[in-house]
Symmetry: D3
Subunit: 134 residues, 6 copies
Amino acid sequence: MATVRLWTDDDVAADARCKAVFDDIRATRKSDFVNNFWRALANQPDLLEQTWARVKKVMIEPGTLDPLTKELIYIAVSTMNSCTYCTHSHTAAARAKGLTEEQYAEFLAVVSMAAHTNSLANALQIPVDNEFLA
Amino acid sequence: MATVRLWTDDDVAADARCKAVFDDIRATRKSDFVNNFWRALANQPDLLEQTWARVKKVMIEPGTLDPLTKELIYIAVSTMNSCTYCTHSHTAAARAKGLTEEQYAEFLAVVSMAAHTNSLANALQIPVDNEFLA
Amino acid sequence: MATVRLWTDDDVAADARCKAVFDDIRATRKSDFVNNFWRALANQPDLLEQTWARVKKVMIEPGTLDPLTKELIYIAVSTMNSCTYCTHSHTAAARAKGLTEEQYAEFLAVVSMAAHTNSLANALQIPVDNEFLA
Amino acid sequence: MATVRLWTDDDVAADARCKAVFDDIRATRKSDFVNNFWRALANQPDLLEQTWARVKKVMIEPGTLDPLTKELIYIAVSTMNSCTYCTHSHTAAARAKGLTEEQYAEFLAVVSMAAHTNSLANALQIPVDNEFLA
Amino acid sequence: MATVRLWTDDDVAADARCKAVFDDIRATRKSDFVNNFWRALANQPDLLEQTWARVKKVMIEPGTLDPLTKELIYIAVSTMNSCTYCTHSHTAAARAKGLTEEQYAEFLAVVSMAAHTNSLANALQIPVDNEFLA
Amino acid sequence: MATVRLWTDDDVAADARCKAVFDDIRATRKSDFVNNFWRALANQPDLLEQTWARVKKVMIEPGTLDPLTKELIYIAVSTMNSCTYCTHSHTAAARAKGLTEEQYAEFLAVVSMAAHTNSLANALQIPVDNEFLA
């Protein structure tokens, strides 16, 4: 249960700023489904507008990294932040963008390998090689 | 300064298990440079052998994710774990594998976007949509 | 479900050390409600006594930071530690101390802004300016 | 040492987008000093523009939380993310905004208290009270 | 609900690689119960084999640290990573290995003490004494 | 460089509350060396007194966990919090209490194993088995 009310479609319809964002989410994603993240942010219109504008630009507009790679980076960050919500939502998004079981297995192998070596490097306080600073 | 001694090439030459790993690192990477991470792990031969075997398999053997994507996932995890060593070493590795400034900028945009939304989802304790659990 | 038993009021009544702490929690807060955190700590009387004494001193005794500011700092830490329990309990506490929707929205904007810039500073390993060390 | 080049004032002067942001930072802060964070972000103009626009709005424009409270929340997040850069820069900012030693001591008491109880709540996996979810 | 299917015993029986691992888990632990962690990893046979081989070597083979100490270290890491699953499973494992209430109370006191001082050292950015680097 | 001044012995000698704590640290540890952590906390006498009283009770008074086990738990927490200061100081403390290279190697193996499985359990969002909740 969230610390804030999750806005229903009726709530959103009654608020012009929120309605504009929800309309754009639906149009951009070509889907009527709007997930709870946005229904929670609707309580804070400024944060809602800013966050959606940024998600749209970073995750949806074409760039030099392909959309699936971006989702994998997103899941990696969300996993390390122990963010249940974002781990679920972006794993679903990665699947919708074609993530195969083989790719997911490799992703998990990289994430767990990094977590393993990070803990060693931090425990041992290994100094960075000059070669990496050049 | 590390919590353990960093092994020199002379130290390594005098220890058969460590020498075998260092030889394989050099042969696999086609480079004489062996970074401090391995020189620190040399104090724990079992961990050295196991970690190198795993890094070789996960990061170097061909798979379905391309090598640059794997490095980006690695940097994302290392950044969230505040691991200075691994952030530097894998950013250098990503550059060696062709990371462009445009790709790096997009990577940073995704990481910081994820950190932003993770903090909101965790602060608001947003429940996962049933649609993501299907 | 906790890893330990949550003590009922009957359990507490039968243990003098726990009863003294629970009595003081109720008297200090002027409320009969004692939340699960203390019911879990009741299994470890030393930790119960020490933690309550500290919470009372730090969060309840008057100081130079106002009570609401202290709650916001508490929620910020709890969010970054992905602590579901403390995020919920201290958001409720902040509301009880008068947190408005506008203040909560600004709090969330600051937290997510900090998470955003933290991830960039850690990814880029930006050196601290001398001006900040003076 | 950063993973990217830190832009000098000469570098910035030669790039219209970066120059516009740096000019606005100087004008807004009424100071010629521009810290390394922005000199690192100058390599990614989109991120530079977006981040500065957001910092300006969230941290500088007047709102319902006072500027010092916002800095304390920022330091709390940065501390939990082990972000050396942001901890130093925002502690300096808090001091510039009038943070007293008494307030700093109370801030540290709250942060360490929260870290203490977060670790207990997470270790004990304490279920959230229904009272907090109402 | 997991992001992957949890394999039933029938699923496992139909896959030679997974069956070999599950058989070894049961034989090693002298118990028919196989917990969800392995049922989730069964989707990624390489990760399943590698992780089980490592867990068996690190956590089960005799060494110089006693089994209960290893479980306490495991819970400490899992708590700081906010890993609900591993906190529960390794607290149960520690109890099965004889953890007493007194030991658990002391463990919690150390973990929360460390979390407290970590947050202070990171907030204050205290430089490491030369004496610790010798 | 710390965000606060590190108190010299002369500074401490001029403040009765700080002097009492420093005297007790020296008497308890039977050593004239007082590390920077306490010299930083000296700026906040209440925090200094409370933290030392707790460290003395938790880490120094005899209990049911042996002193070396407590140090290993402390290092595990400090590593996961990326606390450079506490990782160094408590690794030094563990060595002073007799930590052998074999024990340290096993400790590192457990910590990195836990970090590995934590990341998998969090990425896969594996539900806790009922058997662990009983």
